[in-house]
Amino acid sequence: MMRKFREKLPGRIFFLLALSSISVLALITVFIVVQGAPIIARVGVIDFVFGMSWAPSQGEYGIFPMIVGSLSVTLGAVVLGVPIGICCSIFLAEFAPVRLRNLFRPAIQLLAGIPSVVYGLWGLIFIVPFIRNYMGGPGLSILAGSVVLAIMILPTVISISEVSILALPPAYKEGALALGMTHWQAIRSVQLPAAKSGIVAAVILGIGRAIGETMAVIMLLGNAVALPSSILDPIRTLTTNIGIEMGYATGEHREALFATGIVLFVVIMILNSTAQTIVKRKKDQ
């Protein structure tokens, strides 16, 4: 009896701990929905999501420009950051001599440890004036945010892609080389396709990081609520909308910010599940 109990005890404890982390997720979801859903219902889903005007003092709550903002800045970060990240991971996994690799790896991990506000500061001092002086516009822009976000997602993309390349069975590479392929041919036509699902996962996590980032982009995007006409225009994202206004918002305005959170939640879930279906479909082929 006692022994049976002891046998089961560790399992129960782990279950409770696992449950607590899941329940936090549930609590957050419920909380945001309870706080934000009423105003979406009042304004109407279509008017809220596709509305062009955000003027809380006049009771206008349209967040479409911010959805565009979040997506465009994230897209920019992915376009700039993912190719660099994947190339870097290939270099580390396949080409770098051991000593160089031992230098690069901790450096890249350090990149992940820099607080986002510091990234914002750096972007504000270097990237924004650069764009203003050489490319035009106010400098505070989609481009500035994308560049800094691209750097911020690098550690995620690099380390996960690298791990997925290193995790391949050595037989793939040896088999490819024994067929008379060069090293690069083996990487391109055997190893990268085989590591594809891991690399896609790296990109998904990178997207998650980029779309959820708040502090750095508040400092770099200019935060104007309007549809941009070029990548040099300022913009506001869903996260920055919450970050900027939550400090003083009350009543309906406050609810609208929670509703913004709901939309952010949904956007992230849509992105994640699309990416996962892509991975699955590729695997089934």
């Binding site: 051991v98 069975p169 037989a171 793939y172 040896e174 088999g175 490819a176 080389l177 024994a178 067929l179 008379g180 392929m181 060069t182 041919q185 036509s189 055997v190 396709p193 085989a194 082929q285």
Partner: protein
């Protein structure tokens, strides 16, 4: 090329992994169109020797070699030798079946495509011939466009043999190709080796002495990185000259 010509000649070959010496003074002639078995217990340097022949060992950092290996009388370390071409001429099959993550057809067409064959009909012919030679055609002719991973272990290994054949090599190196396979798959592979030796020179590390006696035209015994004895025909098994050889083939160790 008729039987009896020396295809590969290994001269005073030594191999080092960093400070550790893995092969000592190997001298061995491998004749064309025969099956040579290289046997010995684990860690005898057999894999290192096989991988030296197609210079796959070069890729490991900090290795060093002395002596020479000649294929058709020409050193494989000569400066004008193109390593990828050498690896095409000396095809290799590994102990773990290693189909590439693509379809059966593409696995085999891969090598020829890489070396410049693009014509569809010719590729299809090459694929069929290679699969027939590896005794796999009947198993897979209706599902050439299925992933190679969907094959059984024995079929995967025959696929790997077919993949090597498609490159029209001169020598086939097999490193314990049947170690993970069931007896039926093993005998199918052994049967196809008997057919293949008419066209190719075959060097195999068999996975046990029984297999070696079944398939080989000559046999070499290695121990701790040294070549102990070489025998033609069943000589090595019938009249081993060295006590260590007889201990091994009678199953005293290994």
């Amino acid at each position: 090329m008729k039987q009896g010509n020396t295809k590969i000649s290994i001269r005073d070959y030594q191999f080092f992994y960093g400070e550790k010496q893995a092969l000592f003074d190997i001298n061995l002639d491998i004749r064309a169109n025969e099956i040579l078995s290289v046997l010995g217990p684990a860690n005898s340097g057999i894999t290192t020797l096989l991988r030296s022949l197609n210079r796959l060992c070069d890729l490991i950092p900090k290795v060093r070699m002395q002596g020479d290996i000649l294929v058709d009388g020409e050193s494989i370390y000569a400066p004008h030798v193109v390593v990828t071409e050498l690896r095409r001429r000396l095809g290799m099959v590994f102990d773990v079946p290693s189909p590439l993550p693509m379809t059966i057809f593409d696995n085999i067409a891969f090598g020829p495509r890489l070396h410049g064959k693009k014509n569809r009909q010719r590729l299809a012919d090459t694929v069929e011939q290679s699969l027939r030679m590896a005794a796999l055609w009947e198993d897979v002719k209706d599902r050439l466009h299925m992933p190679a991973m969907s094959l059984s272990g024995g079929q995967q290994q025959r696929l790997c043999i077919a993949r090597v054949l498609a490159l029209q090599p001169e020598v086939i190196l097999l490193d314990r190709p049947c170690s993970g396979l069931d007896p039926i798959s093993t005998s199918k592979i052994e049967d196809s080796l008997q057919l293949l030796k008419k066209r190719f020179t075959i060097v195999i590390a068999p996975h046990n002495v029984q297999q070696a006696t079944r398939i080989s035209d000559s046999a070499a015994f290695m121990l701790m990185g040294r070549l102990i004895e070489v025998g033609v025909g069943d000589d090595l098994f019938a009249n081993p000259r060295d006590k260590r050889t007889s201990d091994y083939i009678t199953g005293r160790y290994g």
